[in-house]
Symmetry: D2
Subunit: 466 residues, 4 copies
């Protein structure tokens, strides 16, 4: 029998019960539901709304239920609809009458939001820790591969040489902003809806500041209607997750490319690869393909929640029950993606020789050469736009001769522009080129090393352990 | 140990195994996987690729596995990755060596798509049946409420009177197109990928036409790369589901409105309503709120799949493993939405008296009056645009007098335009207005009755059972 | 001729030019492009990379171009691809050679991101101002309607009475968080990519701190690859907009409901309503319907951008050019939605008499009655759960008698529970009920008034102007 | 002055007018609006609702308006809201009174849907033609590259050798289904809403079959409420476009990969490439990157429309005005993507020598070798699963020896399994491997050639023109 059944003469049909239940997934909130109920019961007692002895029974009963759940012995019942009613009804089974006083000055509307905000707060902390683990793995990978030059790409065409370390730190930067977004979201979400009741608050003498403090919220929410009706905190959370997912999808794409025969930059160990049921030679970087693929469901989860909330009038509508599954899925997926990416990072080897051999292709030093001309002729005759044009022609010459820029003779260069001098060869070739970078944030060795050190310090990495 | 492990020296880490497994959800394909394997084994035997005795062992073994699964006794193992490997490995446990021949001329790439297309085909048939059940429920509801006039709305403002039957049949029309979309999708999807193997086909003498026929596909797919890499059949399927979801979300919105105190058109029975944990008087139309809400996840599932497939090169990529969960979720959700909507339709009562009492508000007869003027003055002095303006002024007069159009005196009307005559009162009032509709597809009684009869016939409804 | 044409022998086809151009929309960036170029030129001069005289020519030329653009006299050319090349080429037309030096140590990759971040920063400031205008309009509407009680809804069923002021302030709270999200986004985005060049930085002696400061960025970005490849700042921006859109879609839905004949809470003035081409009596709340509808495109814009970025490898890819149109559309739409909502708020009248007349329906005082019982019998015999059940039965009795709770005799109540006493009538009826609310954040008059005052102060509203 | 202004005393504010106008984009419907109005006027005359002379004036006036629009001389006015009112008001300016009769028995609700369905029908025909052009371009590209073997990939790892022709035809197959989806959509959408009027039909004696036939619709729609409220036809259309977009995004990804230095399969001509503003050597495959990128907006457009329609009650709501821009954008984008892809296909050269040189890497013949063992030992000792394991070990041996499978001696092979015989070398090497494929739909030459011929015939390609 439903706990709200006073005015009802007939119980809901099986199909409706099955369609509307949420216990199959919202039981994930049990820990936070119990935590919230304890804080609520303590407050009710302090305010004289229940007796101390009732409070003690309730706390004892809730402890017992938590133990049962964690031991896998709790019977979740679909006819009790959701986690709240399951726990309250079980409490009644265990302690009897006092349990019926727990719902004083509380509705499921404020209760579920208290639980859910607590759950999301914990989930954010978990994700932030996983982000840091991935950052550490990337920084360690950078430390292991000092000095390794790889082609930098734009349009997937070879562009300029970059230090692998520089490239890996780009992801570390992105992840840092990802963590920042989650922290901002956490601050904004950390207000307590408990006591908003159904939507309007209550006339019973409750103390919302006490429960808010007990549950480590910053303060109670200021408007009871807002408290029970809005889901912006979880929209913001899933948006932040979606941006993380996008970052990881790009890392996934990049590493899948790097593991291909054609790029050949990395070899993943067997422990992070899988094979084929038909092709005996296959060794596939599946974890990173799935990281890329699973980004889609994190985005899908966000779209579900946005679409869900669109156009609902105030205050609570049952549609909003559907906020939980996408959130749970988003969190689980993001944590898995972060963890597996870190694991993958720890299990790849860079094919240094092969990378070196392939570096000359693609005229990665062309821009350095254009800068050389500008610098050489500074404030004199060659604006960058002209220099760009001259080097463009030099490249065309190389293409037709099937050679590198450094293979052009000084005469050939001078035929394009007389400013070329023999010091030009100090600018050509990938290693020379990389040596020239000097601007803040650039791929120049000194710049990159400085950034790397600052991340090592910030993330508390013990370099001897790498 | 993985079945593809020949060249591998190390097994995958636990985190990778857990992240990449699919058995937790793709076991839903077991029936179709077994069906496909039987067809494949029979073909291999007929082509002389395995012996008849091996084939018989395989068929027997697969039957045994199916029995175990359906009895809930089959042990699904995560270390065996997916449904295919679980079943093949179990087959080896049961029948030994012959099981190892089953994967001849087959890859998981073509196998999973065969399973998945079979599964989707069945799912489409299930959904089409659920659509028909809802159509029947709506038509029966229409039959029960003959002659009931309700306000028709545009912009949620009262517009013109309509027969409730007419309104309900609008949904029946939409559902009919929904079924049509699914049927078109089924026809396009019903081609067999089996034998495409990893991506390139095989040199072994298989007969793809035989397996295609055995599995009731129209024909084998013509291009093996296309067969293993494309997911358009499921994108189309989830698109069709999304459109159904949109239709049902609108039905949900409408019925939630109708059940409100303010509209008061319908009273849902207790068996499809739920209460509040705090507010004793509440009786909420939750099933329809959830129908509206769950539409969001069907759309989210589609977005997941679209995003998943975007930008993947040919042929198979592991990302595509993620095609299944959104599909399973979409199907389960749509079927639930259709079934619960039908159940709701069977459990509502129209509050005829209250509707009647409220009908005069909103000048629902204003357009009929404008048509009256046009007709009256036909080819003479009053174009519709002028007539619209005259009636607009009549409405403004009523607003200031707080009366209905039929309460205006003929003199008052004639002061607006001399064409008004006393037959005008035959056009005023909701019941008069509805009597005037005559165009094909309109809300005129004869038109609606004809449509209703044609649906009764088409859906095979026994009117005596209503 | 393209400015990058050095190595090219053939120009692109018309179809390609048309498909790849961005000038048709990215000219919106002109002001920020010029601002960035001026900062860049000044820095180049200070660092000795160009002469002061070149710098002065450039600044003068850019001023001239800005004047032309704002006077509508600038010729945007599709063959010049984008805003950057259009302005640089025009600069060359005007000042000749020095213009060719402007692109020294700069790529379009860092240039466009500098422009785009500046544009987004301004857009955020604009939206925050529009948010405040809507907050002010809502608070003023609340001030105008002191003491007005309306039904509060859950499940669109009447739940408990609330003060209209309380309800309006719920939106003000949501909008405040919306502004906070934008501010957080602004802080995170306000770092300068200029000097990241193509992706790797440069060897020319530039000063990125100088340009960053000149453009009022917090600092230059620390990693050049990150700077040119990531779009998280705009993903975060469009996410924040999407959440605003959701909030406004709910406001739209609510006001459309309120304007309906059935609810009848508000009458919008003619100046924010539109009519029908066929139905002379119609007066539709179109602006709020469009607010609700346009929320969809804000969400669609976010999905576009998420899908766009998914799976792209580092660093810049041409796909990313598609980041601008959804952003421009999102911003324009959100600003329009906020402005029109504020305008609507200023043009509605609450139908006080009609609301009052309708208030008794729906047993809005039932929860107050349940609290009465709890309070009355405190720590004695009636737990809330029991009290809820008793009131449920009282409601059922009223339903059968077609009366209100306050119409029940004391005897009738006592037949349900003996604790009822004659002071119960002080708790019944909507006005009594509202008087009882006292918890922080509740709809009690004192609580609401306090909140209202704090918003008046915070938003700097002059009460005499309302 | 608005044409619906009869009961209005005040005109809408500028902000509202600007926010609610649609003329800035729905003028794209002008041709179909005029077409619909002509059909409607002719019907009104035939039915005696207007005189022949009025009809003739109307037709003449509409012709004049069409001429003005096409000559760019028509003044679109925002204060006239939309395309319908602009044209009707202009008609009144030109022909006077008779124009005011045109809107007899018509509402903008049915008018706009008539226009929009006609527009979409034309758009589908345009897209189908563009699909065919791309199919032709792909088939011609296949014809030009007969016999070229490329690596086939799964997981972006080399899998098995395939004929380039086979791979290109995979896209042709996908596009064929894309066209089929559009055709099905066209059939389902081709019913006429005209005469549904506002939502309820009319009492005036119109002939909906006559207008439906004149506009080449299959029939009038059967339910007037359905006719004005549903948008499933355009949801289906945008879904079909989204699937096309996904297919093209994959083609884009593949060709971007192929154009990279690392893959090096294709060289796009200068006419479909662009350069860099800073890096002189760059030659980027931008059109295909944008094809990939623009797929995102097609998906975003669909999401916009789905979200838009979610939860709207019947019948017309102003939100639905927002259906047009996403549709227009989706169509324009898809046509551009198809056209540019075809142009790109015509402007790439396959680097035959480089491809050949790279083919030996990746053990593309491993599966052929596994099949060899199965075949060799048929019905005897080696099941496929064992064979797969043996070849896995052979590959591991090759990896350690850094050689190809064909470089293993017969003794080395026999040490793995005695069944190996010297005919094994006829199966090794990419060219041998490709020769062995024989199954229907496989990459075997005969199979591919047969498929190619059937496409040449189906698409009516003149082979001499390739």
């Amino acid at each position: 029998v439903k706990l709200w059944g006073g005015r009802f003469e007939e119980s809901v049909t099986d199909a409706v019960e099955k369609f509307t239940e949420s216990i199959s997934y919202d039981k994930a909130l049990y820990k936070h539901d119990i935590m919230g109920s304890k804080a609520h019961a303590s407050m009710l007692a302090k305010q004289g709304l229940i007796s101390d002895s009732d409070k003690n029974s309730i706390l004892r009963g809730l402890d017992e239920i938590e133990r049962q759940i964690e031991a896998g012995k709790f019977m979740w019942r679909t006819d009790r609809e959701d986690v709240h009613m399951n726990i309250e009804a079980a409490l009644t089974d265990i302690i009897g009458e006092p349990a019926k006083k727990l719902h004083t000055a509380r509705s499921r509307n404020d209760q579920v939001l208290t639980d859910f905000r607590l759950w999301c707060r914990d989930a954010i902390d978990t994700i932030v820790r996983s982000i840091q683990r991935l950052q550490v793995a990337l920084v360690k990978l950078a430390l292991k591969n000092e000095g390794l030059i790889v082609p930098g790409y734009t349009h997937l065409q070879r562009a300029q040489p970059v230090l692998l370390q520089h490239l890996l730190l780009a992801y570390v930067e992105q992840l840092e902003r990802d963590a920042g977004r989650l922290q901002d979201c956490r601050v904004r979400m950390n207000f307590c809806p408990l006591g908003a009741c159904a939507l309007a608050g209550t006339g019973l003498p409750i103390d919302r500041f006490m429960t808010a403090e007990a549950l480590e919220f910053t303060a109670p929410m200021r408007n009871s209607i807002d408290a029970v009706s809005d889901r912006d905190f979880v929209l913001e959370f899933l948006s932040a997750n979606s941006i993380i997912a996008i970052h990881l999808s790009r890392l996934g794409e990049e590493w899948v490319l790097w593991a291909s025969e054609e790029f050949g930059f990395i070899t993943p160990s067997d422990s992070v690869s899988t094979g084929s049921s038909i092709m005996p030679q296959k060794k596939n970087p599946d974890p990173m393909e799935l990281v890329r693929g699973k980004s889609a469901r994190v985005i899908g989860d966000l779209v579900t929640l946005l679409t869900l909330c669109k156009g609902l009038p105030l205050a609570y509508n049952r549609d909003l029950q559907e906020d939980k599954e996408p959130t749970f899925d988003s969190v689980k997926t993001i944590v898995g993606m972060l963890e597996v990416s870190a694991e993958f990072a720890q299990n790849i080897t860079f094919n240094v020789e092969r990378i070196k051999k392939a570096l000359p292709a693609g005229y990665l030093d062309a821009t350095t050469l254009a800068d050389y001309l500008v610098n050489k002729a500074n404030m004199q005759q060659i604006p960058f736009r002209t220099s760009h044009d001259i080097v463009g022609k030099a490249v065309a010459l190389c293409v037709s001769k099937e050679c590198q820029l450094q293979d052009l003779s000084l005469d050939e260069m001078r035929s394009l522009n007389p400013v070329f001098d023999k010091d030009v060869y100090e600018y050509l070739g990938v290693e020379n080129a990389i040596r020239k970078f000097s601007s803040f944030g650039s791929t120049g060795s000194a710049c990159v090393t400085e950034q790397l050190h600052s991340w090592v310090a910030k993330l508390g990495i013990n370099r001897s352990s790498c």
